[in-house]
Protein backbone atom coordinates (compact mmCIF):
# COMPACT_ATOMS: atom_id res chain seq x y z
CA UNK A 1 0.00 0.00 0.00
CA UNK A 2 1.22 3.48 -0.92
CA UNK A 3 -0.52 5.39 1.94
CA UNK A 4 0.74 4.66 5.39
CA UNK A 5 -2.10 4.76 7.94
CA UNK A 6 -1.75 5.24 11.67
CA UNK A 7 -2.31 1.53 12.21
CA UNK A 8 -0.16 0.30 9.29
CA UNK A 9 2.65 -0.82 11.59
CA UNK A 10 0.19 -3.32 13.11
CA UNK A 11 -0.36 -5.00 9.76
CA UNK A 12 2.07 -7.40 8.14
CA UNK A 13 1.35 -6.95 4.43
CA UNK A 14 1.96 -10.61 3.75
CA UNK A 15 -1.00 -11.41 6.03
CA UNK A 16 -3.27 -9.05 4.08
CA UNK A 17 -2.53 -10.78 0.80
CA UNK A 18 -2.45 -14.30 2.28
CA UNK A 19 -6.19 -14.98 1.62
CA UNK A 20 -5.53 -14.35 -2.07
CA UNK A 21 -2.64 -16.75 -2.45
CA UNK A 22 -4.64 -19.73 -3.66
CA UNK A 23 -6.85 -17.78 -6.09
CA UNK A 24 -6.07 -17.54 -9.78
CA UNK A 25 -5.48 -13.79 -10.08
CA UNK A 26 -3.35 -11.62 -12.29
CA UNK A 27 -1.06 -9.07 -10.68
CA UNK A 28 -3.45 -6.21 -11.32
CA UNK A 29 -6.45 -8.20 -10.08
CA UNK A 30 -4.53 -9.06 -6.94
CA UNK A 31 -3.60 -5.43 -6.38
CA UNK A 32 -7.22 -4.45 -6.82
CA UNK A 33 -8.36 -7.00 -4.22
CA UNK A 34 -5.72 -5.79 -1.79
CA UNK A 35 -6.93 -2.21 -2.18
CA UNK A 36 -10.50 -3.27 -1.42
CA UNK A 37 -9.36 -5.29 1.60
CA UNK A 38 -7.43 -2.30 2.90
CA UNK A 39 -10.53 -0.18 2.44
CA UNK A 40 -12.50 -2.62 4.59
CA UNK A 41 -9.78 -2.61 7.23
CA UNK A 42 -9.76 1.18 7.31
CA UNK A 43 -13.48 1.41 8.04
CA UNK A 44 -13.44 -1.46 10.52
CA UNK A 45 -10.56 0.07 12.48
CA UNK A 46 -12.21 3.49 12.57
CA UNK A 47 -15.53 1.97 13.59
CA UNK A 48 -13.89 0.01 16.40
CA UNK A 49 -12.13 3.08 17.74
CA UNK A 50 -15.02 5.49 17.37
CA UNK A 51 -17.34 3.05 19.11
CA UNK A 52 -15.16 3.37 22.19
CA UNK A 53 -14.75 7.14 22.07
CA UNK A 54 -17.10 9.92 23.03
CA UNK A 55 -18.56 12.00 20.19
CA UNK A 56 -16.16 14.81 20.99
CA UNK A 57 -13.16 12.50 20.95
CA UNK A 58 -14.38 10.87 17.73
CA UNK A 59 -14.46 14.29 16.09
CA UNK A 60 -10.92 14.98 17.28
CA UNK A 61 -9.83 11.59 16.01
CA UNK A 62 -11.29 12.10 12.56
CA UNK A 63 -9.60 15.47 12.18
CA UNK A 64 -6.28 13.85 13.05
CA UNK A 65 -6.97 11.06 10.57
CA UNK A 66 -7.76 13.44 7.74
CA UNK A 67 -4.64 15.51 8.46
CA UNK A 68 -2.56 12.31 8.94
CA UNK A 69 -1.43 13.37 12.42
CA UNK A 70 -0.42 9.91 13.55
CA UNK A 71 1.30 10.92 16.78
CA UNK A 72 -1.80 12.82 17.90
CA UNK A 73 -4.00 9.88 16.99
CA UNK A 74 -2.00 7.47 19.14
CA UNK A 75 -1.81 9.94 22.01
CA UNK A 76 -5.59 10.13 22.01
CA UNK A 77 -6.07 6.40 21.63
CA UNK A 78 -3.67 5.49 24.43
CA UNK A 79 -5.41 7.98 26.72
CA UNK A 80 -8.91 6.76 26.03
CA UNK A 81 -8.90 3.09 25.02
CA UNK A 82 -7.37 0.17 26.91
CA UNK A 83 -5.34 -2.35 24.90
CA UNK A 84 -6.12 -0.45 21.73
CA UNK A 85 -3.37 -2.09 19.63
CA UNK A 86 -4.62 -5.56 20.54
CA UNK A 87 -8.19 -4.58 19.67
CA UNK A 88 -7.16 -3.15 16.31
CA UNK A 89 -5.04 -6.21 15.52
CA UNK A 90 -7.95 -8.48 16.41
CA UNK A 91 -10.46 -6.70 14.21
CA UNK A 92 -8.04 -6.85 11.28
CA UNK A 93 -7.26 -10.51 11.90
CA UNK A 94 -10.96 -11.41 12.20
CA UNK A 95 -11.74 -9.69 8.92
CA UNK A 96 -8.87 -11.40 7.10
CA UNK A 97 -10.05 -14.74 8.47
CA UNK A 98 -13.51 -14.06 7.05
CA UNK A 99 -12.01 -13.26 3.68
CA UNK A 100 -9.90 -16.41 3.80
CA UNK A 101 -13.04 -18.43 4.47
CA UNK A 102 -14.75 -16.81 1.49
CA UNK A 103 -11.75 -17.59 -0.71
CA UNK A 104 -11.72 -21.21 0.45
CA UNK A 105 -15.47 -21.53 -0.23
CA UNK A 106 -14.93 -20.18 -3.72
CA UNK A 107 -12.06 -22.55 -4.47
CA UNK A 108 -14.01 -25.55 -3.17
CA UNK A 109 -17.03 -24.56 -5.24
CA UNK A 110 -14.91 -24.64 -8.43
Amino acid sequence: MKNKHFYSHLIDESIVSAPLEKLELTLSEREEMIIIIHGNIHHLVLDLIMSELSKEDSERLLKHVVYEEHDSIWELLHQKIDSVEEKITKVIKDHLNEISQEAIKLINRK
Binding site: L25, I36, G39, H43, V65, V66, T89, E98
Partner: protein, 298 residues
Amino acid sequence: MSRTKPASQYQDFKKTLLKTHQEIQEAFREKHEETLETLQEVPKHVAAGSLAGMLLLTSPAPSMMLTQAAATAQAPEPTLTEIKSAMTNELKETLPATVDELNVEQKQKVGEILSRYFHVTALPNLEGHELNRVYGVIGAEQHLMRYPGDTMATHFQSSSEEKFHSSGMAPGRGAWGYFAPSLSEMNDEVVMREKYYIAVQTFLSPGWGEQTKELYQFFKYRKMLVVNPENGKAVVAVIGDAGPAQWTGKHLGGSPETMAYLERQDGRARGPVLYYFIDEAQGTVPLGPIILLENHEK
Protein backbone atom coordinates in the same frame (compact mmCIF):
# COMPACT_ATOMS: atom_id res chain seq x y z
CA MET B 1 -0.29 -18.01 -20.70
CA SER B 2 -3.50 -15.92 -20.50
CA ARG B 3 -6.68 -17.12 -18.86
CA THR B 4 -9.54 -18.13 -21.07
CA LYS B 5 -12.25 -19.22 -18.65
CA PRO B 6 -15.05 -16.63 -18.63
CA ALA B 7 -16.40 -17.03 -15.10
CA SER B 8 -13.19 -16.36 -13.24
CA GLN B 9 -12.38 -16.53 -9.61
CA TYR B 10 -11.49 -12.86 -9.91
CA GLN B 11 -15.03 -11.83 -10.84
CA ASP B 12 -16.70 -14.01 -8.20
CA PHE B 13 -14.34 -12.97 -5.45
CA LYS B 14 -14.45 -9.33 -6.35
CA LYS B 15 -18.25 -9.43 -6.19
CA THR B 16 -18.06 -10.90 -2.69
CA LEU B 17 -15.44 -8.40 -1.56
CA LEU B 18 -17.31 -5.41 -2.96
CA LYS B 19 -20.53 -6.52 -1.28
CA THR B 20 -18.68 -6.77 2.03
CA HIS B 21 -17.06 -3.40 1.41
CA GLN B 22 -20.40 -1.76 0.77
CA GLU B 23 -21.94 -3.31 3.88
CA ILE B 24 -19.04 -2.18 6.05
CA GLN B 25 -19.13 1.33 4.65
CA GLU B 26 -22.89 1.70 5.05
CA ALA B 27 -22.81 0.35 8.59
CA PHE B 28 -20.04 2.78 9.45
CA ARG B 29 -21.84 5.79 8.00
CA GLU B 30 -25.11 4.91 9.71
CA LYS B 31 -23.50 4.30 13.09
CA HIS B 32 -21.39 7.43 13.08
CA GLU B 33 -23.61 9.71 10.99
CA GLU B 34 -23.91 12.38 13.63
CA THR B 35 -20.16 12.62 14.16
CA LEU B 36 -19.49 12.74 10.44
CA GLU B 37 -22.09 15.44 9.84
CA THR B 38 -20.90 17.76 12.58
CA LEU B 39 -17.44 18.07 11.06
CA GLN B 40 -18.39 20.33 8.18
CA GLU B 41 -15.96 23.08 9.15
CA VAL B 42 -12.87 21.11 8.07
CA PRO B 43 -11.22 23.28 5.40
CA LYS B 44 -12.16 22.59 1.82
CA HIS B 45 -8.60 22.44 0.62
CA VAL B 46 -8.20 19.16 2.49
CA ALA B 47 -10.66 17.37 0.23
CA ALA B 48 -13.82 18.01 -1.71
CA GLY B 49 -17.25 17.38 -0.30
CA SER B 50 -18.41 16.25 3.11
CA LEU B 51 -16.26 14.74 5.80
CA ALA B 52 -17.66 11.37 4.86
CA GLY B 53 -16.19 12.02 1.45
CA MET B 54 -12.88 13.08 3.02
CA LEU B 55 -12.86 9.94 5.09
CA LEU B 56 -13.39 7.87 2.01
CA LEU B 57 -10.57 9.72 0.34
CA THR B 58 -8.26 8.77 3.17
CA SER B 59 -9.44 5.19 2.77
CA PRO B 60 -7.34 3.02 0.50
CA ALA B 61 -10.44 2.16 -1.55
CA PRO B 62 -12.38 5.33 -2.38
CA SER B 63 -15.74 4.79 -4.07
CA MET B 64 -14.69 6.47 -7.31
CA MET B 65 -11.99 3.89 -7.80
CA LEU B 66 -14.38 1.04 -7.21
CA THR B 67 -16.91 2.32 -9.74
CA GLN B 68 -14.18 2.61 -12.34
CA ALA B 69 -12.91 -0.86 -11.57
CA ALA B 70 -12.38 -3.07 -14.57
CA ALA B 71 -15.70 -3.94 -16.13
CA THR B 72 -14.37 -3.13 -19.54
CA ALA B 73 -12.38 -5.67 -21.50
CA GLN B 74 -8.68 -5.73 -20.70
CA ALA B 75 -5.84 -7.34 -22.53
CA PRO B 76 -5.52 -10.89 -21.11
CA GLU B 77 -2.99 -10.97 -18.34
CA PRO B 78 -1.23 -14.03 -16.97
CA THR B 79 -2.12 -14.98 -13.42
CA LEU B 80 0.52 -14.77 -10.71
CA THR B 81 0.51 -18.55 -10.55
CA GLU B 82 1.38 -18.69 -14.24
CA ILE B 83 4.11 -16.08 -13.84
CA LYS B 84 5.56 -17.92 -10.85
CA SER B 85 5.48 -21.13 -12.81
CA ALA B 86 7.29 -19.49 -15.73
CA MET B 87 9.98 -18.18 -13.41
CA THR B 88 10.50 -21.42 -11.51
CA ASN B 89 10.76 -23.28 -14.82
CA GLU B 90 13.39 -20.86 -16.07
CA LEU B 91 15.32 -21.28 -12.83
CA LYS B 92 15.02 -25.05 -13.01
CA GLU B 93 16.56 -25.03 -16.47
CA THR B 94 19.53 -23.00 -15.21
CA LEU B 95 20.20 -24.41 -11.75
CA PRO B 96 22.19 -27.61 -11.23
CA ALA B 97 20.32 -30.78 -10.25
CA THR B 98 21.98 -30.76 -6.82
CA VAL B 99 22.58 -27.79 -4.54
CA ASP B 100 26.05 -27.01 -5.81
CA GLU B 101 27.67 -23.64 -6.14
CA LEU B 102 26.87 -22.00 -9.46
CA ASN B 103 29.42 -21.26 -12.13
CA VAL B 104 29.87 -17.73 -13.45
CA GLU B 105 27.47 -18.21 -16.35
CA GLN B 106 24.77 -19.70 -14.11
CA LYS B 107 25.14 -16.87 -11.58
CA GLN B 108 24.71 -14.25 -14.30
CA LYS B 109 21.76 -16.01 -15.87
CA VAL B 110 19.97 -16.49 -12.55
CA GLY B 111 20.61 -12.85 -11.64
CA GLU B 112 19.05 -11.77 -14.91
CA ILE B 113 15.99 -13.97 -14.32
CA LEU B 114 15.47 -12.70 -10.77
CA SER B 115 15.97 -9.06 -11.79
CA ARG B 116 13.43 -9.42 -14.57
CA TYR B 117 10.77 -11.09 -12.49
CA PHE B 118 11.15 -9.08 -9.28
CA HIS B 119 11.89 -5.67 -10.81
CA VAL B 120 15.05 -5.24 -8.74
CA THR B 121 18.71 -5.31 -9.69
CA ALA B 122 19.80 -8.69 -8.31
CA LEU B 123 23.54 -9.31 -8.51
CA PRO B 124 25.87 -12.15 -7.46
CA ASN B 125 28.47 -9.57 -6.47
CA LEU B 126 28.29 -5.93 -5.52
CA GLU B 127 30.98 -3.25 -5.30
CA GLY B 128 33.61 -5.89 -5.98
CA HIS B 129 32.47 -8.11 -3.07
CA GLU B 130 30.68 -11.42 -3.00
CA LEU B 131 29.68 -14.21 -0.66
CA ASN B 132 30.96 -17.76 -0.92
CA ARG B 133 27.73 -18.85 -2.61
CA VAL B 134 24.49 -17.57 -4.10
CA TYR B 135 22.62 -20.88 -3.96
CA GLY B 136 22.50 -22.91 -0.78
CA VAL B 137 20.54 -24.85 1.80
CA ILE B 138 18.82 -22.58 4.31
CA GLY B 139 18.25 -23.45 7.94
CA ALA B 140 16.21 -21.88 10.69
CA GLU B 141 17.59 -19.13 12.90
CA GLN B 142 16.16 -17.72 16.10
CA HIS B 143 15.02 -14.19 16.84
CA LEU B 144 17.81 -11.75 17.61
CA MET B 145 17.99 -9.21 20.42
CA ARG B 146 17.18 -5.90 18.80
CA TYR B 147 18.24 -3.70 21.73
CA PRO B 148 19.63 -4.24 25.24
CA GLY B 149 16.89 -5.85 27.28
CA ASP B 150 14.86 -7.16 24.35
CA THR B 151 13.26 -10.45 25.32
CA MET B 152 10.61 -12.71 23.90
CA ALA B 153 8.10 -10.88 26.07
CA THR B 154 8.90 -7.55 24.38
CA HIS B 155 9.67 -8.82 20.91
CA PHE B 156 6.30 -8.81 19.18
CA GLN B 157 4.12 -5.85 18.26
CA SER B 158 0.90 -7.73 17.70
CA SER B 159 -0.73 -11.01 18.66
CA SER B 160 -0.61 -12.18 15.04
CA GLU B 161 3.18 -12.32 15.28
CA GLU B 162 3.15 -14.63 18.27
CA LYS B 163 3.13 -17.70 16.08
CA PHE B 164 6.86 -17.00 15.80
CA HIS B 165 7.29 -17.15 19.56
CA SER B 166 8.28 -20.82 19.55
CA SER B 167 11.45 -20.07 17.58
CA GLY B 168 12.94 -18.48 20.68
CA MET B 169 15.70 -15.91 20.92
CA ALA B 170 19.40 -16.47 20.29
CA PRO B 171 21.34 -16.32 23.57
CA GLY B 172 23.88 -13.82 22.28
CA ARG B 173 23.69 -10.80 20.02
CA GLY B 174 23.99 -11.09 16.26
CA ALA B 175 27.33 -10.62 14.55
CA TRP B 176 26.75 -6.86 14.29
CA GLY B 177 25.49 -6.47 17.82
CA TYR B 178 22.19 -4.88 18.68
CA PHE B 179 20.07 -3.45 15.87
CA ALA B 180 19.37 -0.35 17.97
CA PRO B 181 21.22 1.06 20.99
CA SER B 182 18.06 1.23 23.10
CA LEU B 183 14.30 0.72 23.06
CA SER B 184 13.71 4.42 22.56
CA GLU B 185 15.74 4.32 19.36
CA MET B 186 13.77 1.48 17.83
CA ASN B 187 11.92 2.31 14.63
CA ASP B 188 10.10 0.52 11.82
CA GLU B 189 13.32 -0.07 9.90
CA VAL B 190 14.94 -1.80 12.88
CA VAL B 191 11.85 -3.94 13.39
CA MET B 192 11.87 -5.01 9.75
CA ARG B 193 15.63 -5.71 9.71
CA GLU B 194 15.36 -8.18 12.56
CA LYS B 195 12.14 -9.63 11.21
CA TYR B 196 13.56 -10.36 7.78
CA TYR B 197 17.20 -11.21 8.28
CA ILE B 198 19.48 -13.92 7.03
CA ALA B 199 22.69 -15.27 8.49
CA VAL B 200 25.38 -15.85 5.89
CA GLN B 201 28.85 -17.39 5.96
CA THR B 202 30.73 -14.10 5.85
CA PHE B 203 33.81 -15.87 7.16
CA LEU B 204 33.94 -17.93 3.95
CA SER B 205 33.56 -14.98 1.58
CA PRO B 206 36.47 -14.30 -0.78
CA GLY B 207 38.99 -11.92 0.83
CA TRP B 208 37.58 -12.21 4.34
CA GLY B 209 40.97 -12.93 5.91
CA GLU B 210 42.66 -9.98 4.16
CA GLN B 211 39.87 -7.38 4.25
CA THR B 212 37.96 -8.37 7.37
CA LYS B 213 37.09 -4.86 8.55
CA GLU B 214 36.00 -3.64 5.16
CA LEU B 215 33.89 -6.72 4.45
CA TYR B 216 32.41 -6.64 7.96
CA GLN B 217 31.07 -3.16 7.22
CA PHE B 218 30.04 -4.05 3.69
CA PHE B 219 27.94 -7.03 4.75
CA LYS B 220 26.29 -5.26 7.71
CA TYR B 221 22.51 -5.11 6.98
CA ARG B 222 23.22 -5.55 3.26
CA LYS B 223 19.94 -6.05 1.41
CA MET B 224 19.53 -9.40 -0.28
CA LEU B 225 16.85 -10.93 -2.46
CA VAL B 226 16.17 -14.40 -1.07
CA VAL B 227 14.15 -16.67 -3.34
CA ASN B 228 12.75 -20.15 -2.93
CA PRO B 229 13.26 -21.43 -6.50
CA GLU B 230 10.72 -24.20 -6.02
CA ASN B 231 7.69 -22.05 -5.24
CA GLY B 232 8.82 -18.63 -6.47
CA LYS B 233 8.31 -16.95 -3.11
CA ALA B 234 10.80 -14.26 -2.17
CA VAL B 235 11.71 -11.78 0.52
CA VAL B 236 13.97 -8.79 0.67
CA ALA B 237 16.08 -9.46 3.75
CA VAL B 238 19.18 -8.00 5.35
CA ILE B 239 22.35 -9.77 6.35
CA GLY B 240 21.82 -9.69 10.09
CA ASP B 241 24.10 -12.39 11.41
CA ALA B 242 27.02 -14.62 10.49
CA GLY B 243 26.71 -18.38 10.19
CA PRO B 244 25.93 -21.22 10.12
CA ALA B 245 29.02 -23.30 10.80
CA GLN B 246 30.20 -25.37 7.86
CA TRP B 247 29.75 -28.69 9.68
CA THR B 248 25.96 -28.14 9.79
CA GLY B 249 25.71 -28.77 6.07
CA LYS B 250 23.65 -25.62 5.74
CA HIS B 251 24.86 -22.58 3.83
CA LEU B 252 22.77 -19.79 5.34
CA GLY B 253 20.08 -19.24 7.93
CA GLY B 254 16.77 -17.41 7.84
CA SER B 255 14.85 -15.58 10.56
CA PRO B 256 11.58 -17.24 11.61
CA GLU B 257 9.54 -14.78 9.53
CA THR B 258 11.77 -15.29 6.49
CA MET B 259 11.55 -19.06 6.72
CA ALA B 260 7.78 -18.95 7.19
CA TYR B 261 7.16 -16.77 4.16
CA LEU B 262 9.50 -18.73 1.90
CA GLU B 263 7.91 -21.96 3.17
CA ARG B 264 11.31 -23.37 4.02
CA GLN B 265 11.90 -25.65 6.98
CA ASP B 266 14.91 -26.94 8.80
CA GLY B 267 15.73 -30.55 9.47
CA ARG B 268 14.87 -33.29 7.03
CA ALA B 269 12.62 -31.10 4.93
CA ARG B 270 15.22 -28.40 4.40
CA GLY B 271 15.81 -27.02 0.94
CA PRO B 272 17.73 -24.43 -1.03
CA VAL B 273 17.26 -20.77 -1.74
CA LEU B 274 18.94 -18.27 -4.00
CA TYR B 275 20.38 -15.19 -2.33
CA TYR B 276 21.49 -12.24 -4.37
CA PHE B 277 22.63 -8.72 -3.53
CA ILE B 278 20.15 -5.98 -4.34
CA ASP B 279 21.73 -2.95 -5.97
CA GLU B 280 19.72 0.04 -4.70
CA ALA B 281 21.43 2.60 -6.94
CA GLN B 282 18.13 3.05 -8.81
CA GLY B 283 16.02 3.32 -5.67
CA THR B 284 15.32 1.62 -2.37
CA VAL B 285 13.44 -1.64 -2.11
CA PRO B 286 11.38 -2.22 1.04
CA LEU B 287 12.17 -5.12 3.35
CA GLY B 288 9.85 -8.08 3.57
CA PRO B 289 7.94 -10.23 1.11
CA ILE B 290 8.31 -9.19 -2.51
CA ILE B 291 5.84 -10.05 -5.23
CA LEU B 292 6.68 -10.90 -8.82
CA LEU B 293 6.55 -8.01 -11.28
CA GLU B 294 5.28 -5.56 -8.67
CA ASN B 295 6.50 -1.95 -8.77
CA HIS B 296 8.24 -0.97 -5.56
CA GLU B 297 8.13 2.34 -3.73
CA LYS B 298 11.29 4.37 -4.21
